[in-house]
Symmetry: C2
Amino acid sequence: MKRQIINDPGAAVTEALEGMQLCYPDLVSYDTDRELILRATPARDKVGLVSGGGSGHEPLHAGFVGRGMLDVAVPGAVFASPTALQVHEGTLAADSGRGVLQIVKNYTGDILNFTIAGELAGDHAVDTEMVVVDDDLATDTNDDGDGPGRRGTAAVVAVEKIAGARAELGGSLSEVADAARRVARTSRTMSLALQAGTHPGQDRPAFDLGPDEVELGVGIHGERGIDRVRFASADELAELLIKPLVEDLGLGRGSGVLAIVNGLGSAYPLELSIAARSVHQLLSARGITVARTLVGTYVTSLDMHGFSVTLVPADPDLLKLWDAPVRTPALSW
Amino acid sequence: MKRQIINDPGAAVTEALEGMQLCYPDLVSYDTDRELILRATPARDKVGLVSGGGSGHEPLHAGFVGRGMLDVAVPGAVFASPTALQVHEGTLAADSGRGVLQIVKNYTGDILNFTIAGELAGDHAVDTEMVVVDDDLATDTNDDGDGPGRRGTAAVVAVEKIAGARAELGGSLSEVADAARRVARTSRTMSLALQAGTHPGQDRPAFDLGPDEVELGVGIHGERGIDRVRFASADELAELLIKPLVEDLGLGRGSGVLAIVNGLGSAYPLELSIAARSVHQLLSARGITVARTLVGTYVTSLDMHGFSVTLVPADPDLLKLWDAPVRTPALSW
């Protein structure tokens, strides 16, 4: 068994959620009956925000519950969608009378269960809207909607932050949903790994890489990437992520972006700061302004060693919502 | 060479600091001439706080520069003290007319260079005081002051936070120094590693561990620990840290503490939340209240896989300063 700081592998998710509640009792509450993470003090008279999905991506989503972001997080088992019933309970719990926005990463199981939960919520006279986050450029196959489409990855943090701020400012359900969809529609992410993550209790990473190999376009559930490239410097690795992002988003001289430089699990702070420098310099050289940066470990794939870059085209309205106060276990300012 | 996300190993520290400035230009400024990290907007009319030491412990100390914590961080090379001249410049830069508190982890080189810098500051009519942080219980040899004493590790975050808050509230140099010394005197830390960190550009970790071994009482510069124990569950590993801390601090039923559960580099968020749960449960079972918890990756030893626990006996005065606003790259609320 690969050595990790855990007790029973099967209880790792539950225990981590218990740990979060014990550490931040003023911010979050863990409802073990309904398997939900809620704000310690529920919000009143605002559009509710619920997100969730498989675990193993900590601090996502439970770490983003709090003032200025989510009302409720619905955690599944590692890499497995929460049940429709669980999402249903979470959707109802997020409502304070003005409807609920469901923020869902684009995976078949999550979409299905959030859709069922949204329909059930209607039976309780709770209005819902859903925003699907599908930012992972590596899975963009231009299939005209026939395939599963792009996966949802780290852009979900930006969607949750922007929608959270809009809701806190008193937006209606459709206004909050519009703000969220705008971020989701315009965000793209590229990821790479020097080593895949290892499922708690297992011996081996999700896949093996040779000593000189890097997986480009990797997913956050142990999915393989689109290419295997040679190990290189931080600047060269960052360029492998930045080039396709800039091309796909049509960015150029005069563009402004919000950048998320995200550690995928075991990348350490020195590495992430160096990677963030590479990202800034590569964008700057193209005349693109990085208006805001979030650098740290926010959307992980267990202990994967690697990083992702998310770019969100930014205008003053978006930056104002980004800068709005937030207080959650994993993001505060 | 062990694969890390870096460019030139010799430039890793400088590039990481450049990265931090690029990501947080509203918070920090990197003065490459003087090799200092400064607040982007210098504070006025308050006691200045300067800290520093060898790098490789990111986000310490540069990540704690900002309102409510440090005014200046003085980074050395990886695991090497900054020079006396550099500390001198940092001490002067931290002064806004009310004197400067130097916060120094207990290592011979750091103490020497901060002492020289303090004496030189006197020549510039800048009052200084020094607080030495020596929290690492594993190095407590009861040698009556003849040896180097305990090392300084993660308690420095609490010292910087508390002193920073006291200074922000308008305390005099002696008041700020008293608050800092009280935290430093009463804090203790224990650490363990499943794998040592690897210096950028090197092939191997600082030391090797067998597949079933854990290093107990490890330092943050690749120093070996006091014992080698068998790998065990998170609960059992946490108990190895908690038991000596509780005994040394004389904690018992009715005590209250502030706990820092700190990742040493590559421990991933799921692990740290589980470890934090263990810490809470082990203290709670002894009747000790954890009044506040900081859990995350704050004081690292490069990519070491492990964690430390710091306990600080807490009273309402300390908690009020802990809860005071802070805005830095690595700590904000």
